[in-house]
């Protein structure tokens, strides 16, 4: 991660500050994953409905993620900031699906 002070020490050339800001923002947003876990109770059609209606995924994408949950036991269905995936986890729990959040790269 580029320390902020570095840009201060550099000659303030036009455009540089903008570039530095972008790099810093990207570094600050550590990506998190939302994982949905398989269970023997929830209907496959319901899980697909939730993925379509809540995340706005196409039926094909929702079905593919649902099948991954079903056959592999889990699937990363979304990623983003920690706040985002935590909010999504609560929504999944409200639907009755079991979801967890984890830092990206922790799986496998």
């Amino acid at each position: 991660m580029e320390p902020m002070s570095l840009s201060v020490a550099t000659e303030p050339a036009p455009g540089l500050s903008e570039e530095t800001t972008t790099a810093t923002d990207t570094a600050r947003i550590v990506p998190w994953n939302l994982v949905v876990w398989n269970d023997p109770v929830n209907l496959m059609s319901y899980v697909s409905y939730v993925f379509q209606s809540y995340f706005g995924y196409s039926e094909a994408k929702a079905d593919a993620l649902m099948m991954q949950v079903h056959t592999e036991g889990r699937s990363i269905v979304s990623h983003g900031s920690k706040e985002t995936v935590e909010r999504q986890a609560v929504a999944m729990h409200n639907f009755g699906l079991w979801a967890t959040v984890e830092r990206a790269g922790e799986d496998g």
Binding site: V35, P40, V41, N42, L43, S45, Y46, S48, Y49, Q52, S53, Y54, F55, G56, E59, S78, G80, T84, V85, E86, R87, Q88, A89, V90, A91, H93, N94, F95, G96, W98, A99, T100, V101, E102
Partner: protein, 204 residues
């Protein structure tokens, strides 16, 4: 026997016998009772007001834990913090959906808009999750075994598990027809276009 939920011009409709309405209302009531937090008299009123539960811990009842699961698999402290901040609103949201579905059973004919259908879908899901835990459904094989129990005449007078299995299968059938109807409505343009993570049932 109840009629399956169907999607039509006016929304999603269903129809129940009186005994089925009684059964479902009883199930909804039971799950609401399970979700009621243990009131602690010395509770901080401000914490209650802002919707956090500082003392929230992982439920000991596995059925309740399934309704209010941990949001972190490996990090217990992370899971606890998440629970403190979100568990109360999740309990209230689930109980709200169960009460809404129960109110809809005032009459034999049930007509649902998109929001009403989602209340029903989550209410039936929560009922099934609790029944599944009581029935010990922990694998696909367990679920298959339960699905095999279909005949009321097989149930002895005090065979509670067989009775629960039949109830579970009835609720499963009902939810299958409901979700099919919801998917039909969604395909027909009932999609409300909630963006990623911006669904109306978020953490609020």
């Amino acid at each position: 026997m109840a009629e399956p939920f169907t999607y039509g011009r006016r929304g999603i409709s269903g129809r129940f016998e009186d005994a089925e309405r009684e059964l479902l209302r009883g199930l909804f009531r039971d799950v609401v009772a399970l979700l009621e937090p243990d009131e602690t008299p010395e509770e901080d009123p401000l914490a209650a007001l802002v919707g956090i539960s500082p003392e929230a811990t992982e439920p000991e009842d596995p059925a309740l834990l399934r309704l209010l699961p941990n949001a972190s698999k490996d990090d217990a402290e992370e899971a606890r913090e998440f629970r403190r901040l979100t568990e109360r609103s999740l309990r209230e949201s689930k109980a709200g959906a169960l009460r809404a579905a129960s109110l809809g059973l005032e009459s034999r004919d049930v007509l649902l808009d998109a929001a009403g259908a989602e209340h029903w879908a989550t209410a039936l899901t929560d009922v099934r999750l609790v029944l599944a835990e009581r029935l010990g459904i922990h694998s696909e094989e367990d679920a298959e075994k339960i699905h095999g129990v279909t005949d009321w005449s097989d149930v002895g007078d005090d065979d509670v598990d067989a009775y629960l299995a039949l109830v579970y299968n009835f609720v499963t059938w009902l939810q299958t027809t409901l979700v099919d109807a919801m998917l039909a409505g969604y395909r027909a343009g009932g999609a409300r276009g909630t963006g990623p993570g911006e669904g109306s049932r978020g953490s609020r």
